[in-house]
């Protein structure tokens, strides 16, 4: 999280975000209104205008970013997505097995969908009239995922076989009778087996995205290690456990005290229950408020880790997001949005964008390190090929 010192000979260009909440509110509310009145069709145009507003208000070294996507293509992608989703929802309702099959197919296709969507966004993002590009290396991604997925499945099966054979499973069956199905354990064991791999999968995903992104003809490189991701996830988990344990302890004491004070000889009465319930609400509020700070840590640490390890040609980035500040913005934004019945959503988005930009810098190797970037000749052809898959699912 600490700022990396500027290297000798490097020029530092801070990112700037120039949008304002009041200006974006007017754009946002018109977008929302037209999207409703056109039964969602305008939402594709709304998305383009929103992205254009946020891109073009973001600048580094005095040059703005630009979002150049064609709303018609986004609309096409959305129609496909809505059709798939509707089919999926109804197949769940009518034929659970069909829904399950579709879910399986969807999960298997998820990496490919991510690539298609990312490639779309990158291709229509430009800086200094040079576009970004994303290498659609679908095969490479599945190959990278193969071993971790195999390990997760193996671990799941092993854990399941082990649990099944223990006395504990037999005991559960005795106690719960027909209500206990051993098969139900499978999904829980799967989630447990997935947990230790989450930071690694996040690392794989981040590395894949960075290393397949090109600005003009220069490709980005990624210097972060998987261990750093594990560190962030461990700290987050630790903070979460700490928070839960502390609040549970306090709550237990408070509940015991309330019940002891209010219950007479007749046992627990209504007053005691009411007392406990009235304590529950502030506790839930405290829990969720502190959760925002854990989320803030996660977001800040992850973004800093990833951005500080991206190198493109002779240029690199620095990101100095501060956990407490991000947590505070999350919390206060949420409260503001709820109290304003959603009217402050634009203000909240602008506020976050401004903070993130203020914490990000581009370190240019030398004056010409950006100037020398040239358009990629190869990517132009790749884009033609990709037109058929030009879908944006709004990921």
């Amino acid at each position: 999280m600490s700022s990396t010192p500027l290297r000798v000979g490097y020029q530092c260009h801070p990112f700037r975000f120039a949008g304002t909440g009041a200006e974006y509110f007017r754009i946002w509310i018109v977008n929302v209104c037209l999207s409703i009145l056109t039964i969602g069709i305008y939402s594709a145009w709304a998305k383009v205008r929103t992205n254009r507003y946020f891109y073009a208000n973001t600048s580094v070294d005095g040059h703005s970013f630009h979002y150049l996507a064609d709303p018609v293509k986004i609309l096409r992608g959305r129609l496909v997505a809505v059709a798939l989703l509707a089919g999926y929802v109804f197949s769940w309702q009518l034929y659970p097995w069909a829904g399950f099959t579709l879910l399986g197919i969807g999960v298997l296709l998820l990496p490919a969908i991510m690539i298609v969507a990312l490639s779309f966004t990158m291709r229509y993002s430009a800086y200094r009239n040079i576009r970004f590009h994303f290498d659609r290396d679908v095969r490479g991604l599945y190959r990278a995922l193969l071993i971790p997925l195999f390990l997760i499945l193996a671990l799941t099966l092993a854990g399941y076989e082990f649990l099944k054979s223990t006395d504990w499973a037999a005991m559960m069956e005795d106690v719960e009778g027909a209500n206990f199905h051993r098969e139900d354990l499978l999904s829980s064991v799967f989630l447990l087996a997935l947990m230790p791999f989450l930071p690694y999968l996040d690392y794989l995903r981040s590395r894949f995205i960075v290393e397949h992104t090109e600005y003009g003809s220069s490709r980005m490189t990624f210097g972060a290690r998987a261990g750093a991701f594990y560190g962030i996830y461990f700290v987050s988990l630790f903070l979460f456990i700490l928070l839960t344990a502390a609040l549970t302890a306090v709550l237990t004491v408070v509940m015991a005290a309330t019940v002891a004070v209010n219950s007479g000889e007749a046992g627990v009465d209504g007053k005691a229950v009411a007392g406990v319930l009235s304590f529950m609400i502030p506790f839930m509020v405290a829990f969720y408020s502190l959760m925002f700070f854990i989320m803030g840590y996660m977001r800040a640490a992850r973004t800093n880790l990833i951005l500080n390890n991206v190198q493109i040609g002779r240029n690199r980035f620095t990101s100095n997001l501060r956990s407490l500040r991000v947590g505070w913005i999350y919390l206060s934004n949420t409260v503001a949005i709820i109290l304003s019945l959603g009217m402050l959503i634009p203000w909240a988005k602008v506020r976050m964008a401004r903070y993130v930009a203020a914490c990000t810098e581009l370190e240019a190797g030398d004056v010409d390190s950006i100037n020398d970037v040239v358009r990629s000749e190869r990517s132009a052809m790749g884009d033609e090929l990709g037109e058929a898959f030009d879908l944006d699912f709004g990921l």
Binding site: R26, I27, T50, Q93, N129, I130, G270, N333, I338, D372
Partner: protein, 388 residues
């Protein structure tokens, strides 16, 4: 004629050059220094204005001039590209923002209260009954696991009640009607309609009834739920509202979704009242032809109401926890819906029902939107008057 200051990017490299563009009275664009030949502005693609962000003038050869001098740009666009900045026109004035805000609020509230339920009724009626009935499969099994126990009712009584149901059924119905008898457990006295025609009746409800005519009236109410395909309508409404809110939310963040759950709550609470009302109407309409007495059903509702209220008062320990669970099922239908129509059958979640009634009797029409069922007093009066 004022010049436009901007930056020229050739599109082949990331280099740029500061330029001044001028436009003569014939609409010809010239560049200083002359990085491109003078050309008609009509051959240049200009990006529409958004906020105060820089705009792009895209030349045919792929090079671009970026400029932010909106005074000059607006003037050029106004004269040579009328209509290009229509969106910006709406997006830049407070009056349009206010109009849009009012419009969004009106659409959301009326959509949640009337629009989505109305459309879902049309769609639900178009779905074949075989498909509609498949909806609640697994619901009963699920309820058996979490709440019910096998019924302890006498076999002869069960057969008698099943015969009564047969007598109630509409002649041309496609649903496979039957009664499922269960011990209600913490749910207590209640009846549920499942979408395929199964009506769950708890032992406690049968015991609460003074005679079988009262149970017939309850069954008739449940038949109303099934005949009107309420389960399907709720599923469709949820999908419809989700589509509506997604269209609005677009790319809104997590905090936004919280706010967008509001119309959902609004719809659900008023909607389940409306469905109760409809099932009551169905029962009221058919009671005379079947020789049933609405007043007796009113008495029964009355008794059910007071039993639950009494239970809530006396026995907070177990009654309280049970009611919370029941209310949960009531308010938040899971993916395997059905159970919430089913469950909405009669006011059973006494704890939170009675509190809502109390507030309601004090004042406020608004609060009535937050109660899940029509106030029982109102329902009871309806059946009394219907017979008088």
């Amino acid at each position: 004629m004022r010049a436009l200051r901007g930056r020229y990017y050739d599109g082949r490299s990331a280099r740029f050059e500061d330029v001044r563009l001028t436009l003569d009275e014939h609409g010809t664009l010239a560049c200083e220094p002359p990085l491109f030949e003078p050309m008609p502005l009509s051959g240049v693609r200009i990006s529409s204005r958004i906020g105060n962000t820089p705009r792009r003038l895209e030349l045919p050869d792929g090079s671009v001039v970026e400029a932010q001098d909106h005074l000059v740009l607006d003037d050029w666009v106004g004269r040579h590209r009328p209509g290009l900045d229509r969106a910006h026109h709406f997006e830049s004035r407070a009056s349009y923002a206010l109009a849009a805000l009012l419009c969004v609020t009106a659409v959301l509230v009326s959509g949640a209260l009337w629009g989505v339920p109305w459309i879902s009724e049309i769609v639900a009626d178009a779905v074949p009954s075989g498909v509609a009935g498949r909806l609640g499969q697994g619901t009963l099994e699920y309820m058996d696991r979490i709440a019910f126990a096998p019924s302890t009712l006498e076999e002869s009584h069960r057969q008698e009640l099943s015969r009564r149901l047969e007598a109630l059924l509409p002649a041309d119905s496609d649903f496979d009607y039957r009664i499922e008898f269960r011990d209600g457990g913490f749910i207590g006295a209640n009846a549920f309609a499942l979408p395929d025609g199964a009506i769950v009746v708890t032992d406690q409800l049968v015991q609460l009834a003074q005679d079988d005519d009262e149970i017939s009236a309850v069954l008739l109410h449940e038949v109303g739920h099934i005949e009107h395909r309420h389960a399907l309508r709720i599923v469709i409404s949820h999908a419809g509202l989700a589509a509506l809110t997604t269209a609005i939310a677009g790319d809104v963040t997590a905090a936004g979704t919280l706010v967008l759950a509001l119309p959902n709550v609004l719809m659900e609470s008023s909607y389940s009242r409306q469905l109760e009302w409809e099932a009551d109407s169905y029962a009221l309409e058919r009671m005379p032809e079947l020789g049933l007495n609405g007043g007796k059903f009113a008495d029964f509702l009355d008794r059910l109401e007071s039993t639950h209220a009494a239970a809530a008062g006396e026995d907070l320990d177990c009654g309280g926890s049970g009611d919370v669970t029941a209310a949960d099922l009531d308010m938040n239908p899971g993916p395997e819906d059905g159970e919430d129509v089913a469950d909405a059958a009669l006011p059973q979640s006494a704890d939170d029902e009675t509190t809502l009634f109390d507030e309601e009797e004090l004042e406020s029409d608004w609060l009535s939107y937050l109660s899940t069922h029509p106030p029982s007093a109102e329902r009871i009066a309806r059946f009394r008057n219907g017979t008088k």
